[in-house]
Symmetry: C2
Amino acid sequence: MQRVFVTGAAGFIGSSLVDRLLADGVRVVGWDDFSTGQRRFLESALQHPGFQLHEGDNLDLPALTRAMAGCDTVLHLAANADVRFGTEHPSRDLQQNTVATFHVLEAMRANRIKRIAFSSTGSVYGEAVVIPTPEDAPFPIQTSLYGASKVAGESLIQAYAEGFGFEAYIFRFVSILGERYTHGHVFDFYRQLLDHPDHLNVLGDGLQRKSYLYVQDCIDAILHVLHAGTATHAKHRTQVYNLGTPEYVRVNDSIRFICSALGLQPELRYTGGDRGWIGDNPFIFLDTAKIQATGWKPKLTIEAGIVKTLRWLQQNEWVYVHRR
Amino acid sequence: MQRVFVTGAAGFIGSSLVDRLLADGVRVVGWDDFSTGQRRFLESALQHPGFQLHEGDNLDLPALTRAMAGCDTVLHLAANADVRFGTEHPSRDLQQNTVATFHVLEAMRANRIKRIAFSSTGSVYGEAVVIPTPEDAPFPIQTSLYGASKVAGESLIQAYAEGFGFEAYIFRFVSILGERYTHGHVFDFYRQLLDHPDHLNVLGDGLQRKSYLYVQDCIDAILHVLHAGTATHAKHRTQVYNLGTPEYVRVNDSIRFICSALGLQPELRYTGGDRGWIGDNPFIFLDTAKIQATGWKPKLTIEAGIVKTLRWLQQNEWVYVHRR
């Protein structure tokens, strides 16, 4: 990797990856439409001579194609990452996750770029029948528009890898957290506790089991696999990896970590039911044996990741103001 | 089912389904853009008082929504069914299979129609690692743009079923053949033998193993499952069924059936290799235990289906002239 194109470069994971690549001496072309990305996340990158930023929309294929010129690898992280509100605007996931991914692939083809890494999600397993869920779990039934749009993106990438000789890495993430985290349950809980430290509204019954991964561990994993080039030796030129920690926590555990770190004892008010929203999966736990077999393993536990996230939010309360 | 909306109503399977529904006393609204559909296939339906035809494009959402008004069930068969040439025009599968399916779902939502059947494909299993391949086979890697676009369509339907309370039936077809068959290997072989009865060019090595289903058996299966309403009792409001015969044939068997029926002994000229084209799957054989457990079974063997197809082509050579 000499020159890497990062979509969603101003996002939580994207900007963290940009910083890491620059620190590793890789030149980076960043691409973002700043619909949810934050310029402040790129402050340091923008000082770096190896970084170029292009502002643009994945739905603008000609501009995307021009911006990508001269790169050898694409890290496609741009997405509508809002898993909860899909049914309020069903076309958003289709456009921003599926059609956008198609455009990224077409821009790569036009530029003869053949290596791609893609941030997918454990949501593609729907309500998994095998837990912990391996990459070759039974063909799932999708339960959210977000998951559906990511399956579609994965499938397009796989077909391009087969049809056009691309080398593709698909990473199915659990929820990622850490510095620059700007949406998700820690974000929501901390905002609530800023507003009303005496109580916390919790979607569902608090018993939902979820897995999380610290952003720097996530980035380590992606770069580790890209450097190993595992798809070049495999039967299929697409390799799929679950990315997560070998543990899960209940929502109530997570609340306990947060409240303890903040020194608060709010009254917990549950909305009830075994899930937070339509399409929410009450038990997400991915089998990460495949990625661990490559030699990577996470450095932080879920608890440590949650506390790190909280500390960053405490120091960066501006994210609550600046968020759309 | 009182009034059924059929997309791809002028196509091979669509028009056969329209005729069957009308014969069963169901009112039918047909929708087709006539890009590959044939008006001649609707000649009989157009005489029937229970049939209405709307000419339109699935990409025109307002027109699709208007046409669908007053229906209670959608049979979504319209598709780019060309599995071979995906890499020559990568956007076609995305538009005609994925985005079109999204529009069908949105038009249903606008009209408060909640029951859908969808013609998917065994191609979604890619190069299956379990053969015969059951519906819950290991999560596959896509090997064609066609397969990818159908996975995307399936996933959208599943997410709508979950998010909006739709009742959905997804049928993963093997290759369908029979009357009105206008593309596929029997079509191509017969055309060749009309042009040059002395030899036959065969893609691959002739050893590819494929499964086929006769169109009237296919229609029986779809209507049987819709009448049983299996999704209304299930955990998920989407039910997926493989549709095929419990047998497969080699391409060479198929050639033997065709040549024997025609009384020809052409020289066979193989292009070589174990597959016909990039993304071709040299062994397609679906496990049909799930659909057979509902009480349906196919009436025709693959050989009988191939011979019936050939007889129809012999009586309808106009399809070779009229085809785009």
